[in-house]
């Protein structure tokens, strides 16, 4: 009996350390910066154990009952901890509060266990034996846990199932203790049933643990999936790797924190900086708020209207403190008005006029999205841009999808814009293309791109200054973006119309070649 109780010390300490490791690992996955996360989690955990030990002195009678109750509580809290953390990550504004609360509760409960156990066993052993035995089992358990965790548990079970698994071990200890010690006691019956329910819950949690994270999805991403949700319109997945945080929509990379500044600086500044005193800016798409972050670097801008179909996306990048650190809280700026609406319908119905518009839609990979790159769309857009105002369109890769890129340019031209195409290297994407459209009064644009190597394209002049603090662009390298090497040079292409959707077909053809090589 006594030896079995000592064995339970071993189990308990293994479980305790595993919960601690899970919390530390999860915090590193979700929040990044593993040194800080592990240090703070371990610190909070050990301190909470101290609190637990301190509280143990107030336990006066029926220590066995208390031990069993604590054991079941640890099973519930510890066992569910990683599932809880994964599930709440998307919903709460301060994930850390929940994280440290869970760590403290688990720590306190584990801290209670050992002193109570020692007091239960105090009559069965000599004091020096007792201390020696309990701590031996405790530290051996810790060693086993720290080896099992990275080598076997995480790779094979994953975090969620690991925590449920150790919850099960905890509750089994409790059940065994009830069987051994407390079966005849009148409180034993109720506690036994409660323990069985807890066991059932943990087994269910363990069985469906992978569903919580959709392992199928997780396995298709290079890094750990830390967030995934299906909005009404798309599948949003965020991953945290060693070096960067990445956002995927329907499996397509939207940005990597490692180099998104290249993309967004190139998207916004060549166009916006070339406008004198821009006041009103429109962003279509761009629900991540990263383009808005760049636009906010212009003090003259009074209002930014951001139209994104997906309210889930904009809410996420407005409220989640882990994500707002990337967009510098741009969506909460008083200058920014977020509208969740269909871009095509909205652009046709709005009465507003803009100095500059950033068109940052997903690539034209289906016929619905293809509409947003059509002549009809650009014509509707042109009506909302002040004369002399500009637009910039993200227009896929001129290297991987050269024809698609020039279709976008030529369609914009057909809609009456004078065009200035340019491209930039974003390591996560490769060569990426944009095109600036300058609104002219002509309804049919036959404007030629006469390349004046020094200062301008027809209708577009290089900016004289840029906002300070950019990480990628300066006035000298900005000009070079407008030069196209031979393998990306201009092509004669048809115009993308609603009634031909030539862009979607071309895009599909060109990208499928890239994927299959």
């Amino acid at each position: 009996m006594a030896w079995l109780l000592l064995f339970s010390v071993f189990i308990i300490s293994t479980c305790g350390l595993v919960y601690e490791l899970i919390a530390g690992a999860l915090a590193s996955y979700l929040l990044g910066d593993s040194i800080t996360q592990f240090s703070t989690v371990i610190g909070v955990y050990l301190f909470s154990m101290g609190i637990g030990s301190f509280l143990s002195k107030y336990a006066k009678k029926n220590l066995v009952l208390l031990f069993i109750e604590v054991e079941i509580l640890i099973a519930i809290v510890g066992g569910s901890s990683s599932a809880i953390l994964f599930l709440v990550f998307e919903h709460v504004t301060s994930f850390r509060i929940i994280l440290y609360a869970l760590v403290s509760i688990t720590g306190t409960l584990v801290g209670l266990e050992i002193p109570i156990l020692m007091r239960i066993l105090k009559d069965k052993f000599q004091f020096q034996d007792l201390v020696s035995q309990v701590f031996t089992f405790d530290y051996v358990g810790a060693l086993i846990a720290s080896l099992l965790f990275p080598l076997i548990l995480v790779p094979h079970l994953g975090l969620i199932r690991t925590s449920f698994f150790f919850g099960i071990l905890n509750v089994l200890v409790a059940i065994w203790a009830i069987k051994m010690v407390a079966r005849e006691k009148k409180w034993g019956q109720g506690l036994f049933i409660f323990a069985l329910f807890t066991l059932a819950y943990l087994i269910i949690g363990f069985s469906f643990g992978d569903r919580i994270l959709e392992t199928a999805e997780a396995s298709s991403f290079q890094d750990k999936v830390i967030y995934s949700a299906s909005s009404q319109y798309q599948r949003i997945v965020a991953t945290q790797g060693k070096q960067d945080f990445r956002l995927f929509l329907n499996g397509n990379l939207q940005f990597s924190t490692k180099d998104e500044y290249r993309y967004h600086e190139a998207l916004v500044h060549p166009g916006l900086a070339s406008i004198a005193n821009p006041k009103s800016v429109l962003i279509l798409g761009g629900g991540d708020g990263l383009a808005a972050r760049e636009v906010l670097k212009y003090p003259s801008v009074e209002s930014i209207t951001l139209v994104d179909l997906d309210g889930h996306m904009t809410k996420l990048f407005k409220n989640n403190s882990l994500l707002t650190r990337f967009n510098l809280d741009s969506l909460n700026s008083p200058k920014v008005q977020v509208i969740n609406d269909d871009a095509f319908l909205w652009i046709k119905s709005t009465n507003q006029q803009f100095d500059f518009a950033v068109i940052d839609f997903p690539d034209p990979s289906n016929f619905s999205l293809g509409k947003l790159y059509s002549l009809s769309f650009y014509r509707a857009l042109a009506k909302k841009i002040r004369a002399g105002g500009k637009v910039v369109v993200q227009s896929t890769s001129p290297y991987f999808a050269r024809k698609s890129y020039w279709i976008v340019v030529n369609t914009l031209k057909e809609a009456g814009f004078k065009t200035a195409p340019y491209h930039v290297n974003v390591p996560s994407f490769g060569e990426w293309g944009f095109v600036i459209g300058v609104r002219t009064d002509a309804t049919t644009g036959n404007a030629q791109n006469i390349h004046d190597a020094q200062n301008s394209y027809e209708g577009y002049s290089f900016p004289k200054s840029l906002p300070t603090g950019l990480r990628f662009l300066d006035l000298a390298n900005l000009k070079t973006l407008f030069e196209f090497p031979i393998d990306m040079a201009e092509l004669n292409t048809p115009v993308n119309r609603l009634n031909n959707q030539i862009l979607v077909r071309t895009f599909d053809e060109e990208w499928s070649k890239v994927v299959s090589h």
Binding site: S219, S376, W432, N499, N500, Q501
Partner: protein, 593 residues
């Protein structure tokens, strides 16, 4: 934005990626879901259509049949009263479909007399249905409007269809480009993707069967399309195209008109066309336009279908069409906007008599709302209602043409079903084309009514299914349909099952269905009809001649073309309306002197 992650994937990685994703999906959530859906399918007696809210509409047949049944007893002609009370019009147009509306539009453009005497032609337009438009009517759901019948207008031929062209120009739907083909409004041009066919369990692009078809059949299909290609540009000895639009512009060369004497089926068998795939395709096309297949229609109509269109556009393919969520009801709405001065009568005309004494037509009608009998007088009649109705309304002396004989023309009954689908899954939604057809089905597939809407996603889709009832002679069908309830249940089941066959599981997402029954839809171009209609369409039957002309009846309905198309009705209506307004202008000028 970007598909950047893709370029990291080498071929090998891509295979691993798809394999792991695929297997993980299958093993994980997929497997159990698949299993449970299989079990459900085995246990369920079939898809459940009981939750769909069904609504049927049909023409006002009670009122319509007043033309020959329950005809109200005309009140005793009280000379003193009627002379004062009967309203007088220059023209009464009977029928508010495309031809009647086009006639009203043409008549409303002419103003004559001078200054204080200036006036417009006084026009009364009779339509027994509460909504104008004839076969081009529409219905609506909060998410979109949808067609009940005709739903598109093809690119126009270059030289003919002058009135339709002018109308499209006025509406901004067509813009002429000097020295180049015209441009069409791109929001009205049918968006891509255009059409697809479900055959042997798979969807293929285009409607000509291509997948799972033997080489021999493919060769036959190629041979048929070669024939079409040549005939499309062929001209007769009279210098006209063999087939043209409107049909009356087609060549009168015996080489082509003889095709009106045999059925398309006879032609095909004589020319050794026997491929099932080809004949299915032809039947699909003909049933779609004429309500019946190769056995019923003349070979002339069979070729007219394929060879009469030579339109080109600057910004669209030649086979493009103009379409709107509500179908051609959009064009009806546009015409109506131009008819500010036309007196619209929601009434059925029960009798038209020419009064030799007063030299006017006396027109008796029953109001659709109040059921009250009204009388008006008109100098001229434009007959814009189906041909078979005329014999119940007009005097026999105006009906000597053989087309008015009972049984001469066939109108096959039709049913259209607009099914509202809630929360269609994105994969299916992304795969939809405008026109979606199932191979070898009595139902002609469906068009997606909301296809032309600009938005990215749709909370509701509306699929418009078309079903001509051509299993039996239309007269026989109409007698069998006395048991209307059974007939309706059968059609509901048929359409729902077709939807479920094309998209397994769709039944659970179908929330509403609006069935519209067309007892007499469009004329079927059976053998001999073309030659017969030609003698009458667009003609004016005058009473008296020259300056002594007392009045006239003219034939504007597309029945008098032998082919029911928007352009046919619009051209006849416009042409006759223009012609008549000149006559009236002249007579007003005379009377003023």
């Amino acid at each position: 934005m970007k598909n950047g992650q893709k370029w990291f994937l080498t071929r090998r990685k891509f295979i691993i990626y798809t394999a792991t994703t695929g297997s993980a999906l299958a093993i994980g959530s997929g497997a159990s879901r698949h299993l449970s859906s299989q079990i459900k399918r085995l246990l369920a007696p079939g898809p459940d259509f009981s939750k769909i809210k069904i609504r049927w509409t049909e023409p006002n047949s009670k009122l319509g049949h007043q033309t020959w049944q329950d005809k109200p007893v005309p009140p005793e002609p009280d000379q003193s009263n009627s002379a004062e009370h009967a309203k007088f019009f220059d023209v009464a147009i009977i029928g508010g479909g495309i031809s009647g509306l086009a006639a009203a539009r043409a008549l409303s453009r002419e103003t004559f007399g001078e200054d204080s005497h200036a006036r417009q032609v006084r026009v009364a337009l009779f339509e027994l249905e509460s909504e104008l438009g004839g076969n081009s009517r529409s219905g609506s759901h909060p998410s979109t409007r949808y067609p009940l019948g005709a739903h598109y207008l093809p690119i126009l031929n270059e030289k003919t269809c002058v009135h339709t062209r002018q109308f499209l120009k006025e509406e901004g739907l067509l813009v002429e480009n000097p020295g180049e083909p015209p441009s069409y409004d791109e929001t009205a041009l049918c968006s891509e993707p255009f059409e697809r066919l479900f055959l042997f369990g798979k969807w293929q692009d285009g409607l000509v069967p291509n997948f799972g078809i033997s080489l021999q059949e493919k060769q036959e299909i190629t041979r048929f399309f070669e024939l079409i290609k040549n005939l499309r540009v062929k001209k007769g000895t009279d210098g006209r195209f063999a087939f043209d639009l409107p049909a009356c512009e087609s060549s009168l060369d015996e080489e082509f008109t003889r095709l009106d004497k045999i059925t398309m089926a006879e032609y095909l068998s004589a020319e050794k066309f026997s491929s099932n795939a080809l004949i299915w395709y032809l039947n699909y096309c003909y049933r779609d336009d004429f309500g019946a297949g190769v056995e019923e229609i003349s070979a002339w109509a069979g070729f007219h279908y394929f060879c009469s269109r030579r339109g080109v556009a600057k910004n669209a393919e030649s086979h493009s069409v103009l379409t709107w969520p509500e179908g051609n009801a959009n064009l009806v709405y546009r015409i109506r906007q131009q008819l500010t001065r036309t007196t619209q009568m929601n009434a059925v005309v029960t009798q038209v008599r020419f009064d030799e004494f007063k030299k006017v037509f006396k027109i008796q009608s029953t109001s659709a709302q109040t059921q009250s009998i009204e009388h008006i007088e008109a100098k001229h009649i434009i007959w814009a209602a189906p041909a078979h109705v005329a014999r119940h309304v007009l005097e026999p002396r105006f009906l000597k043409h053989p087309i008015f004989q009972p049984g001469q023309i066939k109108h096959f009954p039709w049913v259209t079903a607009n099914i509202v689908i809630k929360d269609l899954d994105p994969a299916t939604a992304n795969s939809l084309t405008w026109d979606n057809v199932g191979y070898q089905s009595p139902v002609l597939g469906y068009i997606v009514a909301n296809h032309q809407l600009a938005q990215q996603t749709h909370s509701h889709h509306v699929f418009t299914f078309y079903r001509p009832i051509d299993e039996a002679d239309p007269a026989v069908t109409r007698t069998q349909m006395k048991d209307l309830a059974t007939f309706k249940r059968q059609l509901e089941l048929e359409v729902f099952s077709e939807a479920e066959r094309l998209h397994p599981g769709l039944s659970s997402k179908m929330v509403e269905a609006h069935f519209h029954f067309w007892p007499h839809a469009m004329i079927c171009p059976t053998i001999g009809i073309q030659n017969m209609a030609r003698a009458l369409g667009g003609r004016v039957h005058t009473i008296g001649h020259g300056e002594k002309m007392a009045g006239s009846i003219s034939w504007a309905h597309a029945d008098f073309s032998g082919i029911s198309l928007f352009e046919e009705g619009f051209e006849w209506g416009s042409q006759l309306g223009t012609q008549l307004s000149k006559v009236i202008k002249k007579s007003v000028g005379v009377s003023n002197v």
